[in-house]
Point group: C2
Chain length 338, copies 2
Amino acid sequence: MFTSHNAAAAGALRHNQAMGQGQEFDVIRRLMHTWGDLATDIGDDAAVLPSRTDGLRVVSTDACVEHVHFRSAWISPDEVGHRAAAAALSDLAAMGAVAEFVLVAFVVPDAWQPRLEAVAQGIGRVVRAAGARIVGGNLSRGDTFGITLTVIGCAARPVSRAGATPGDLVVVTGQLGGPGQALAAWMQGQAPREWARTRFAQPWPRLAQGQRLAAHGVTAMLDLSDGLAADLGHLAAASGVRVVMDSAALPCGPDCAVGEALGSGEEYELVATVPPAAWPALKAAWDAEQLGPLHVIGRIEGKAPGEPPVMVTSGTDATGFDHFARPVVEMRPGKGEL
Amino acid sequence: MFTSHNAAAAGALRHNQAMGQGQEFDVIRRLMHTWGDLATDIGDDAAVLPSRTDGLRVVSTDACVEHVHFRSAWISPDEVGHRAAAAALSDLAAMGAVAEFVLVAFVVPDAWQPRLEAVAQGIGRVVRAAGARIVGGNLSRGDTFGITLTVIGCAARPVSRAGATPGDLVVVTGQLGGPGQALAAWMQGQAPREWARTRFAQPWPRLAQGQRLAAHGVTAMLDLSDGLAADLGHLAAASGVRVVMDSAALPCGPDCAVGEALGSGEEYELVATVPPAAWPALKAAWDAEQLGPLHVIGRIEGKAPGEPPVMVTSGTDATGFDHFARPVVEMRPGKGEL
């Protein structure tokens, strides 16, 4: 494990602790060099975080595993890191939180050792853009490359996925369908369209958007990781409500069909439920801040026995992404690739 | 990701959030059942931690990967969980911190799905004994079983490994050599002695011991994960000092040689440096509290150019454990086992 011994001195750029000898520590030293002032005071058993009096601490952990979340033939090592960091930080965005600290645990097969600095660069780019710092991590050998990122932030009023109320508007950021379309193309041995590929390989966590939505009193929020239909199912289950979507209102990406927008996982856009009275001020602030697309795609209704929790009007049937429902073998490279 | 949506309501036992459909969520529901009141309010994007005004937050992440940190033929799934939790919490112990929150990220191949609840039981036992709570985690498929635990605690005065001062006594908890001896036996196809096996399979994080040491003003502390010789090398490097150990003073376990005590990794005992004036009161409090073995094994001296950072008098030459120095193939099961 490598961690910051005094992240309390957050502002000041300090030297990392001297580490003992060994190849493991040589690798950690290279990572520290790659991250530069983004990862300071590294080298102790655990990281010390500054105490805060404002806001609540918000924390989440997220894993990115080769053959499950990506294949090396699809995206570059830099993009692997970029994507893993965005996915983890997206959970903070979904709480309306500010990102502060990141811990990065790598499992590294031999073949990945030469690519580790490129992965670290991708992680660093996203962490830096999020305004956070890397305060620690772990380095382990293993047969399969994986990154588990733990992200820590704070929020004055964390937004759960459990507060949606009948009458609320359902809004979504961004344009949907890209990651799913890219994945489908790769699985069929084809090259995805550039827009879809970039959406899969280089997502950005919607932190500023999540903070803006939280500030305007959204009642529930989550990030799109399993796909819009499935994630709204989670929101409906957690809130005890029903979601009615209008398929014509879905912000489909270029050349993306409604079914792709509904089923595309790992979008890392945000879905939130907004009391109608809060919508005009939210929209005005959103546009003034130029936070990108924000569309009303449906409304929250009371739960009706026997009715599905998510309904799509004039709709296409679609389900979301469930790691455990899809046999892992589907995601494995062919023999030639291994 | 599965996380607590309101860990702020720490005392109260609450229901976990309703989750949507899917096999992944069925697995999470089973884990929640296994953990019972140890893991409440699970189900949101990120966990919300109560704000604190006393002490600093301390955080660390640690991975446990099959074929690297253990083999299934050696220890049970319950012990895999126990050991992973102990290893992660040991980093908090090494800071003198109180353990508060744990996040558990699993990577699960098909073969491990039936064992996941036993693993969760082992984790739960150690987290419960540590007085902490599970506030979230992640569940992913993958080819190799792995657990990455993130642990969060607090400490009034976190103890780094960088404060050792010439003149300090070097003390160590517990009896050493067991995990290394067990590992060596397994690698030679033999059954380890029971004491050594238990030390490998069921270590306990020395949280009470670390808090006691911190309260008495130890100047540096770390947990034994790489082996005493290597870990004292880290302490010496971080503190800019030299460690002189007396091999006759080492608390070797039953039937353990000095070389085994020096080189045995993953002990999860604590090493600390104590100003001589603080020792009598520390020892008296330690014995009154019955915190187990605590031995003075050496002293801190000033760094001398050209001399090794760790010296063992009347000593055996030994080096510690370095994941990246030892080829991973050594730790892999034979073909018959796969």
